[in-house]
Amino acid sequence: MEFHAPEELLAASRRTYAEGYRRIDAFAPYPVEGLAEAIGFHHTRLPLIVLAGGILGCVGGFALQYWSSSIYYPLNVGGRPLNSWPSFIPITFEMTVLVAALAAVLGMLALNGLPMPYHPLFNVDRFALASRDRFYLVIEATDPLFDREKTRRFVEGLAPHGVYEVDH
């Protein structure tokens, strides 16, 4: 289904979700506020992944420095402590940020299933406009409520600017 304005897509998504369809997805050329919620997607695990990455980087970074200066190659410089932790802080901090940022980006891509060079939606020529100024709503045929005739009637009731069947 094609729409011309974000508000139309938002309203149609809400109605489709209320109708009971769950395997649906909405597409927009920019992040539309509330759209993910409208299709029933509320939480992402991404922040947890980033937190885990940050902790890993922090502990790993400090452990590397502690291990190399206190265990692997202890070097006594004028009786100063081997575990001179204040001077390990900058690198620990940098490693925390580095691993957390890597986790954020790679986690986002992995959860989104990217890179994915082929997707059935790309078979619809007009879908190229999803990255320009058109808004799309997709109901997957695998949805338990999906029925070719019923769904078509429902979809036409949403008054879209165009309805396309996706080959796959």
């Binding site: 997805d25 050329p29 920019y30 539309v32 759209l35 992402t44 690198i91 406009l129």
Partner: protein, 461 residues
């Protein structure tokens, strides 16, 4: 008697210049920005400019070739001035590299909408500046082919780096900064690459942009995760950007040399970095918006705001200079006081006074609204600040080193032709990368501009 409503106490201020000129639609912003990349003819001016800057980049490669085959004796630095152009340029470039992430991350978190049209391009500038910065320590080590020894990795020599050294901190800070900036920039590009993929007329364009866009479809679920990711990256990059120049300043502050060993260094370096970064964004943005007719997107409001940031950070830098001088006197340390006197009246004194003129005196013009509205004048001031910030690093590094505690080891430093060739060549490399970026990637974030279109509509603007 009814009280006056509180609003009326304030005279209605004239509506500010918008961050996006009205009349744009979702399609028009995307088409306008992507047409720079996609539509057939590249302007002749681009080729002329590219020819000049790539020649300069070639000069850098020549200077590096001579360096690698001969050794760092071709440079002017020698004991006592063992750090000179290489480290000056490193600090200068890394400072310039701070504006991009600052604009992208900190202004995103502060919900400053005016950042949208300059962030992409500032991020690219950051990347290229960090690339130029990273070059210098590598060639400075003398044997760049074993520079990877700086990284902790299991090896047959049982060698691990000294993690207590600020120079090691630098390795981690700069490489983390480069990686995170690259990711931040690339994540921001993904939706725009998808736009380019869908709009590209040529097959090659579709394949390359399609490959880079990784199959981005604009799904609501993807957008949701994307926004979370972008926000988290911004949150991570914010302390990072502050930490990087702090660590760079530790290279100096942790030593014992008068003129280096000062606790004011970290904040003063960070402010200086933002100062020079904004100056460089301005230096580049003004000609680009003119050349590509992007005045609708990069409005005078942007230039005005950037000028204000420059003014504020410039004042912090001025405070830094003042405190350095004050502490040298207040500490009662003869070596410190001599260092300040040597700066102001010694053999390099003209550079010090030029620095004060460039960084402290001339930028005060930015207090005047008329100056901030004058695009040409702003451009000149931004160039002056760039020069000033380079001089600052020259003063800190060379002038502190050339006369330390022991008069018998004093000396003078003069850059050689290779110092200059490497420095100017690295500006060439920076601009070459920037020219390629402008030609092949969207220099303004298209999808964020679309969101801005929506906002502009809502306000009835």
């Amino acid at each position: 008697m009814p009280e006056k409503p509180p609003e009326s106490k304030f005279a209605p201020s004239p509506p500010p210049v918008p961050v996006l000129e009205p009349g744009h639609t979702f399609a028009s912003v995307g088409d306008k920005i992507s047409s720079i990349v996609l539509t057939g003819r590249t302007p002749t001016g681009w080729f002329v400019g590219f020819a000049i800057v790539s020649l300069l980049a070639l000069m850098l490669f020549y200077a590096l070739a001579v360096l690698f085959t001969t050794g760092i004796g071709i440079w002017g630095n020698n004991i006592p001035v063992a750090w000179a152009f290489d480290i000056i340029n490193f600090v200068w470039w890394i400072g310039i590299g701070h504006a991009g992430t600052l604009i992208s991350a900190i202004l995103l978190l502060l919900r400053q909408q005016w950042r949208t049209s300059i962030n992409r391009f500032a991020e690219a500038m950051t990347l290229f500046a960090v690339a130029c910065a990273g070059l210098y320590p590598l060639i400075h080590v003398g044997r760049p082919w074993v520079a990877y020894w700086l990284l902790p990795y299991p090896n047959t020599m049982s060698l691990l780096p000294q993690f207590r050294s600020p120079l090691m901190w630098d390795v981690f800070a700069v490489s983390t900064y480069a990686t995170v900036s690259l990711m931040f920039w690339f994540v921001g590009l993904i939706p725009d690459l998808a736009t380019l993929r869908d709009r590209a007329a040529s097959k090659v364009g579709r394949i390359i942009y399609g490959f880079l866009a990784m199959g981005w479809r604009g799904s609501a679920r993807h957008w949701h995760r994307y926004e979370v990711c972008y926000l988290l990256l911004a949150g991570l990059a914010t302390p990072l950007v502050v930490s990087v120049h702090t660590v760079v300043s530790f290279d100096f502050a942790v030593s014992l040399l008068p003129g280096w060993n000062a606790t004011i260094f970290p904040p003063y370096f960070v402010a200086g970095a933002i100062y020079s970064g904004f100056a460089m964004v301005m230096t580049l943005a003004i000609p680009i918006r003119k050349f590509y007719g992007l005045e609708d997107f990069i409005t005078t409001r942007h230039l005005d705001n950037m000028a204000k940031v420059m003014l504020a950070t410039g004042l912090i830098v001025a405070y830094g200079y003042m405190m350095e001088t004050f502490m040298a006197w207040y500490s009662g340390s003869p070596a410190e006081w001599f260092m300040i006197m040597n700066r102001m009246t010694g053999p390099y004194a003209p550079f010090y006074w030029l620095l004060i003129a460039c960084n402290v005196v001339i930028p005060q013009l930015l207090w005047l609204g008329k100056v901030r509205a004058n695009v040409l004048l702003l451009w000149v001031i931004s160039l002056v600040v760039n020069v000033g910030m380079w001089l600052e690093r020259f003063i800190i590094i060379v002038v502190s080193l050339h006369r330390d505690y022991l008069p018998s080891s004093w000396g003078m430093y003069r850059p050689t032709i290779y110092d200059w060739a490497t420095y100017i060549g690295s500006i060439g490399l920076f601009l070459t990368l920037l020219f390629l970026f402008i030609r092949f990637l969207p220099l303004i974030s298209i999808f964020e501009m679309r969101a801005l279109v929506k906002e502009t509509e809502k306000r009835g603007g």
